[in-house]
């Protein structure tokens, strides 16, 4: 009879089994063996057996390591300490096998051999080691050109979509910006000094494959200002043989009604297009983003705790995004300075903006209010006028 009858049931079925993977490591790693036991206990008890509690890290850094301890060290001594190491991933999670094999060998030597590819923020997550292994891991990593990612009140490891490397929709070079910002903000990433965490995510187009608008304090989403590039011959090819029902599936789904189709010619009123991507997604061979490309900067997304979930909202409707990205970095500097001074303890930037008012925030970081920043103007009359006349 197996020691782990419940989790064993997750070895069957068509989807890849994480239990099979842990078992494979358990043959040669005592930590993995105890992890199976601890997990079985959770499945039986219907509760977690982990604690946070301890503060661990590598010397000089405040981020990158998450302390984790089990609540049953006597039963499962090999996972009594089971810390996480966040290794900063390469842009858009591209790897050569040499690089991956290096990380595997390192992790075989110093930890459980279990990983997350990848963590929610984007890091290559090494799952489970002890405190004494942390400095050796870090020294080895840094000698081989790798560094730790973020945790705590710092710039979290930026992440991006595969952009120009493998997508025709990319309106700016997401992978380059991700690499550039990660390096620019090394100090802010490793030495937490903010009121709370700050995440950057870069998507090359409004399809937003890295969910930046929902998951990052600063969402940088590619867009364009001029007309959609249209290849009429390719449109005709889609229409021919009913490959695409252009009237219903393209024009009929256009949210702005800016397109029309007379059976042979597709016309787009580009001035009324809101760049939603639907028509381009349906006919990528025929329609492409325009040539005057750049990005939109949106701020403030976060998960529910504390004040409720937020999506990012528009701060800068269009900015050219080319190295060395000075205009963008200058804006970020002003945003951080203001947040540093006015952000309350554990307050994300989105929550601060709601608290002080987006209009005030926009003014404080030196931008002009524009209609693109809102869905609609206020409907309540509670305006705090800052200027009014006094009788002489």
């Amino acid at each position: 009879m197996s020691d782990t009858p419940m989790i064993d049931q997750l070895e069957t079925g068509p989807w890849p089994s994480f239990i099979k993977d842990i078992k494979r490591m358990a043959e040669k790693n005592a930590m993995c063996k105890d992890l199976l036991g601890l997990l079985e206990m959770s499945y039986k008890d219907k509760k977690t057996h982990w604690k946070h509690g301890g503060i661990v890290g590598v010397r000089g850094y405040g981020g990158g390591i998450i302390g984790r301890y089990s609540d049953s060290p006597e039963k499962f001594p090999n996972v009594s300490h089971f810390h996480t190491v966040r290794v900063n991933q390469p842009s858009a999670w591209f790897y050569n096998t040499g690089a991956l094999r290096y990380l595997c060998d390192l992790w075989e030597k110093h930890g459980s051999g279990l990983t997350n590819l990848h963590g929610s923020t984007g890091d290559f997550v090494m799952l489970g080691t002890t405190t004494d292994q942390l400095e050796p891991i870090f020294t080895d990593l840094s000698e081989h050109g790798w560094d730790l990612g973020g945790s705590g009140s710092d710039v979290r490891t930026p992440s991006c979509c595969n952009g120009m490397a493998r997508c025709e929709f990319a309106c700016y070079d997401t992978m380059n910006l991700c690499y550039d910002l990660t390096n620019e903000y090394q100090d802010e990433l490793h030495r937490p000094a903010f009121p709370y965490k700050f995440k950057f995510k870069m998507s090359g187009c409004p399809n937003d494959c890295v969910a930046s608008i929902a998951r990052s304090d600063c969402s940088i989403i590619g867009t364009w200002r001029d007309d959609i590039q249209q290849d009429d011959a390719a449109v005709a090819e889609y229409a021919k043989g009913g490959k695409v029902d252009i009237a219903n599936d393209v024009v009929g789904k256009c949210p702005t009604g800016c397109m029309s189709w007379n059976g042979s010619k597709l016309s787009i009123d580009n001035k009324n297009c809101n760049r939603c991507m639907h028509c381009i997604n349906v006919m990528p061979k025929a329609l492409r983003p325009g040539k005057d490309k750049g990005a939109m900067i949106l701020l403030g997304a976060k998960a529910p705790i504390v004040q409720g979930a937020l999506l990012s909202s528009v701060l800068v409707p269009f900015i050219k995004m080319e190295p060395p990205y000075e205009e963008f970095k200058d804006l970020i500097r002003r945003i951080w300075e203001f947040w540093d001074e006015h952000g309350e303890n554990r307050e994300r930037i989105g929550e601060m903006i709601v608290r002080i008012g987006k209009g005030n925030f926009v003014e404080e970081v030196g931008l002009e209010p524009v209609p693109a920043m809102i869905k609609e103007p206020r409907s309540n009359p509670y305006i705090f006028y800052e200027e009014y006349f006094d009788e002489e």
Binding site: K51, H52, G53, G54, I55, V56, G57, R59, G60, Y61, G62, G63, G67, Y69, P73, S80, H81, T131, S151, G152, S153, D154, R191, P192, A193, F194, P195, Y196, K197, D340, E341, G343, N345, R346
Partner: protein
């Protein structure tokens, strides 16, 4: 101008005074240090440099309590508690 050593000393004693009483975060500390010396004497950058040295020397360490804190070094936490 306050010297780096002076800022480090004051910063260290400030953290020491909070030990066991308050989880102190960097923005709060920075404001206190600058207030103490005066803006003409001590900038945000100076505090940052002082803190980096204290951390590198392991006189202070980072902590985490739903956000990052600065603390005196301590023995490893609750593993077997």
């Amino acid at each position: 101008m306050a010297s780096l050593e002076e800022i480090k000393d004051y910063l260290f004693h400030k953290v020491e005074s909070y030990a066991g009483k308050k989880q102190v975060k960097v923005p709060h500390l920075t404001q206190e240090i600058i207030e103490h010396f005066g803006e003409a004497e001590c900038s945000k950058k100076d505090v940052k440099e002082a803190l980096k040295e204290l951390i590198d020397e392991e006189k202070l360490v980072y902590g985490y309590y739903g956000g990052t804190t600065i603390e005196l070094p301590h023995v490893e936490g609750s593993a077997n508690a």
